[in-house]
Symmetry: C2
Subunit: 725 residues, 2 copies
């Protein structure tokens, strides 16, 4: 017996160290030969080096040896003639499949050798290859791809055409942890197949997850491996074996990504967002000019720092001393808001650089979005050279409310609070401004990112992470220029503060529109979906959802567990709220008998306890009061959804006041739980909703969906941040 691969076994060699040197040597030889992919035997060598189980194989020189090898591997096996002179093995009668016993293997050996001799009498016969054949279990696919934005990703899905049709595959950033890998097994629609259905055995989840982890480590260790497929992998109750491996490589040098350190980002961002001095390049006294709007917003917004208008001729603009260039301004300038036409921006930036300005807010359009890619590259290079961070170009600017700073040409804004929002598009920025004002959503910052020539979502995340004025971050984006970096920062930030992302261009048509709009390549949406979840980011399905999450999530306390209770005066709302809970992955608590009995004491005999607790419509305020108090006092309940029905007995504002009284009473006792409310009634419910919202209970008229999606957003964040169980 020669060459038996001893690393391969049904349960895999978990815990063994990967043999990186072996793979390095192999890849170096592939590179030397100028090849772009590995042969099947090379693929197997790579698998062996990383402890990825593959079918066992050995070459036998006698029938007895073949039988012995086969018995060691387990049946069935395949036999294949090994001869440098026989290229078409099947034609030569040199292949036998599905041999199920030692006798059959021994006989098969003799037959194959005889066939080969008959086919070509002078062929040099080295022996017969004995190969373990894989059958049974669940066929799955484990793979790796290289995404332009996120880099190395590991993929998992079931095998077979049907799954391909249904596109039932899931991704994680590589390297993936074992927890990541296990979550992938649950992350496909057909997850139940792995748990064993219709009497089938459940697969060995640890072995399968281990394989995913190993693949993710392999592609991370060797960036030149751009694609890898283990297809199919046979997953059984005893382990997982990759029947076939395909590896594609690319040895071209990848450009280094420009990435300042966290400390550098924080330093520059702090100077930009909390400047002592702001210069307005292109400041103007003339109504209607952008440079005039910016000046007005800075002054009228109440910014307390120094404002320096820059203008070639004017001595003074809007009562502030003007300078021909930033270089003429005495003392330091932290940030320059640039409002001059695109063609003059480069020169102004050089002066900013010479002045040591930390950041430039580039409002003008006329760069990459209009096809002027060179112009954008030019300013990018200037920024790098002088270490100026660039916001934009092609943006509305930004608001930072703790400093009363409206560095924008849009309408002034002063609804102060703790939500920081950003948008890639100006239109969406204006929608944020309008919604925030209308819904009285307190805001710490609104930032336009536009073409993202430099400053990106991860820079903002880093700043807001450390910003005590910000408790939630919501971002509209059409692409991530460096998804890998975003993911790294987001994974860290989401453990402290909720991050909401509205990814536009989710669909093929949307992605097409996105690329016509910003010339950005929109990523595969499924990858975005999986990676954002992996990072603990709350993904908003639409614009209004993002806005409602940003408004509601920071208002809600963090739930301590998964038990949600619906408490409703309207049975009909209870049903719709239950639907919404299921749709949004909230867990309706199973009511313990003692708690059920306790609720029943407060509600009419025909009211429904269980969950929802239906107190029925004709009840006085005290019934809402007593049941809500019970729900908040009982430790087993972690969150409450209120369904209110407008009646004469309990009018809307009476309901609102009763709820707030109970909440106040509980706060005094140190009990805080997330509560949301759906109000069904005549227009007075709008005022009651506003009153509740202003006092910490996100409440919504005429909808049973929004309160539940907002609570669910809080849950998604809390789960991702590891705050629940």
């Amino acid at each position: 017996m020669q060459d038996t691969k001893t690393t391969a076994g049904a349960s895999g060699p978990r815990g063994s160290k990967p043999d990186r040197a072996a793979v390095r040597k192999l890849l170096d030889s592939v590179r030397a030969q100028g090849r772009a992919s590995l042969t099947a035997p090379e693929g197997k060598q790579v698998c062996d080096a990383y402890g990825i189980p593959v079918p066992q194989e050995a070459v036998a020189a006698t029938a007895a040896e073949a039988a012995k090898c086969a018995s060691a591997m387990g049946f069935p096996v395949a036999l294949k003639i090994v001869s440098p002179d026989i290229l078409h093995k099947t034609e030569a009668g040199g292949v036998l499949l599905d041999l199920k016993s030692a006798e059959a293997v021994a006989a098969g050996y003799e037959r194959i050798v005889a066939n080969a001799r008959q086919y070509q009498a002078d062929a040099k016969i080295l022996g017969v290859q004995v190969q373990q054949m894989l059958t049974g279990g669940q066929e799955v696919i484990i793979g790796a791809v290289t995404d332009g934005s996120f880099g190395k990703l590991v993929a998992f899905g079931l095998g077979g055409i049907l799954v391909e049709v249904l596109k039932d595959v899931t991704f994680r950033l590589a390297p993936a942890s074992e927890a990541d890998a296990l979550s992938m097994l649950d992350g496909i629609q057909a997850a139940e197949m792995l748990r064993g259905v219709r009497g089938g055995e459940a697969v060995d989840r640890t072995a399968l997850a281990g394989l995913i982890v190993r693949v993710s480590e392999l592609v991370s260790d060797f960036p030149e491996i751009t694609e890898l497929d283990l297809n199919p992998v046979f997953a059984t109750a005893k382990g997982a074996i990759a029947a076939d491996v395909r590896i594609v490589v690319d040895f071209a040098e990848q450009p280094e990504r420009y990435r300042p350190s966290e400390a550098e980002i924080l330093k520059a961002m702090t100077r930009i967002m909390k400047p002592a001095t702001v210069a307005v390049i292109g400041a103007s006294a003339e109504e209607g000019k952008i440079g005039n709007s910016v000046m007005k917003n800075l002054i009228n917004g109440g910014y307390k720092g120094r404002i320096c208008p820059i203008h070639p001729k004017a001595a003074e603009i809007m009562g502030r001393k003007a300078y021909p260039s930033v270089k003429d301004v005495p003392g330091d300038i932290d940030v320059a808001v640039v409002t001059i036409p695109a063609k003059f921006v480069a020169q102004a930036l050089v002066e900013c650089g010479e002045k040591g300005i930390a950041g430039a807010v580039l409002i003008p359009s006329g760069f990459a979005e209009t096809g002027n890619v060179e112009g954008q590259q030019e300013i990018q290079q200037i920024g790098r050279k002088y270490n100026i961070r660039l916001m934009g170009p092609n943006i509305y600017g930004f608001y930072y409310l703790p400093e009363n700073l409206c560095a924008t040409f849009c309408t002034p804004f002063d609804v102060r609070g703790h939500a920081a929002l950003s948008s890639q598009s100006g239109g969406i920025g204006m929608a944020i401004v309008g919604f925030s004002r209308s819904a009285k959503m307190g805001v710490s910052a609104i930032v336009g990112l536009g073409n993202k020539s430099d400053l990106d979502e991860d820079d903002l995340l880093t700043f807001f992470e450390h910003d005590d004025n910000t408790s939630i971050i919501a971002m509209h984006l059409e692409d991530l220029k460096d998804g890998r970096s975003f993911a790294e920062v987001a994974s860290r930030v989401t453990r402290k503060k909720p991050v909401v992302v509205l990814k536009a261009g989710r669909t093929a048509a949307g992605a097409k529109a996105a690329s016509s709009h910003t010339a950005a390549l929109a990523g595969n949406d499924k990858i975005y979906d999986d990676v954002l979840r992996q990072c603990g980011v709350i993904r908003a399905p639409g614009l209004r959802d993002m806005l409602e999450y940003a408004r509601g999530v920071p208002v809600l306390p963090t739930p301590k567990g998964e038990n949600v209770l619906i408490l409703t005066g309207a049975g009909g709302s209870g049903v719709l709220l239950s639907d919404a809970c299921v749709d949004n992955g909230l867990n309706l608590m199973t009511m313990p008998p003692d708690l059920d009995a306790a609720f029943r004491k407060f509600i009419p005999p025909f009211g429904a306890a269980g969950n929802p607790v239906d107190i029925t419509g004709g009840e006085p305020p005290t019934t809402y009061q007593k049941t809500l108090r019970l729900a908040l006092e009982d430790d087993r309940i972690h969150a409450v959804i209120l369904g209110y029905w407008h009646t004469i007995v309990t009018p809307p504002m009476v309901f609102a006041r009763v709820v707030l009284e109970v909440v106040e009473e509980m706060r005094a006792k140190g009990i805080t739980k997330p509560i949301v409310a759906s109000l069904a009634g005549d227009v007075e419910v709008e005022q009651a909703s506003e009153h509740l919202y202003a006092n910490g209970i996100p409440a919504y008229p005429y909808t049973t969906e929004t309160p539940v999606t907002v609570l669910a957003a809080k849950y998604k964040w809390a789960r991702g941040a590891g705050l629940i169980r």
Copy 2:
């Protein structure tokens, strides 16, 4: 050769008449034997009678005959010994599978007979059964079930465990048309599998649809067939053959469903909704009583007919002459609003019956919803006996605005328009009132259905179908007591007017809440989904959606085709609107080159034509004007989605006025197309949205999703009604 089934063939005997007499005879014999299911041979007989292809089989008495049979059927075949004395055929060596040639069959015949003789020398051997074996093609399942509400349904799905795990199956009411059946093939997630993937052949869709139709006819012809499974059916490019059939029967008499004729419904509903005289049983002058609220609403609502308070003692209530009983009122009474406690309702109803009153609006609770099932049955029986239609009990009453009729104890309501709404729950009814008032949604009627002891959604549909004051019908429901009847009426009504349904209790948890609330068994949601679509009903996913559809759909003209254009000032909105179009099944028109060139004339050189047409944010009102005019004038564009971005150059109200000017200009030319708008900007966009909406353009601030879902709802209706293509 004996017994060869000649009806069976790979492509099926399409067009042949079913042999009902044969099935009748067979079922009679099953009934006589007291059995609840059919044997496999009986199942095959039923299939034969209905032209459902099954594998061919025959019994051969000689080896030559067996070979001849097999050659006629096509290979492979199976052989099985036929002997009354041999029960365990396999044990006796009496079964051979997968024989692929005439020679193998002849040899097999001899071998089987020899085995059998050896197994039991004295066994009486009648011959050998030759069975066609099915391989290849796509395995599918065709079945039929009997639903408590919808009656006979035909089901279709792919075969295999994976599909079961994914619950990928679709239903239609039986009998199903060929169009219905074809739509089922496209109605599963894995529909692509049937079209041939990865080099696989597409299945014969006509044959497969024919099989579905035949199954649906069979279960409709024979109501005693409660379940039927053809599983698996092998569908290939040449036809479809059912490999196995399972039929379950139930001969118990089904209770007749009470169903007045359409004319009777219409007559009674017209008297109820447009009464000349309304009696208020339990009318009261005392503030806070329900009978007082009803009187106030009738009088203050401006109802012009006669109002007769019924009170045991009072001579007059609120200036109207009172009577001790409806029987004391001179002349006819059309409808009685009943506001007395549950226990007095039965007696009052008897008097209503004796008076010949057409309908009773039963406001009191205390019937089935509180466990008083007998009380509800009692009033039901009185209603039937006297031919009084009952609305409720356990309702808020109803509003019919064309008659200024507020027959309810809730707040009065007078926002007149053309949407008729109903709800099963009082809370949802109040949400309808509040939303309608707040959003200025014009309403023709709001009706509470509550326990639905008699009047049901189909009665309302019948009335609103013929009601010229109503142009859309929107219904909240938790169950359909007679889904079959609803489906029949809805299929007819939706061809004239859009019908929107919010089905609460969609999810397992929601359904549980529904049953605790109304004691109604919530149906399988997938069945509701498929059947509602089959009837042309627009299903609303949530409460707010139902309200927005009811408000927006009647405002929109019916599109003449599928080509939707997005015209946007905000590129960012364009991307989100595109996403929403894909999510909602709208077809973004592929821009023809000439039209693209025409748009490009009006927009800046860096603006993106194609679809979305991105006119860019800095454009003056004339750009919106010229591009919208072009979009409306070009026949190839059928609907327009506007994305507005708030700028100083084109403020919100200017945008609104420009849009309305163009729309007016086009209306004068006879051009009307559905237009919806998404407005991104500061709070002024709220006023602009209202102004647009009031003038026929559904417009929404801070959301890119709602305008698209409303347009999509219009499309869903228009497609279902056959108005597009």
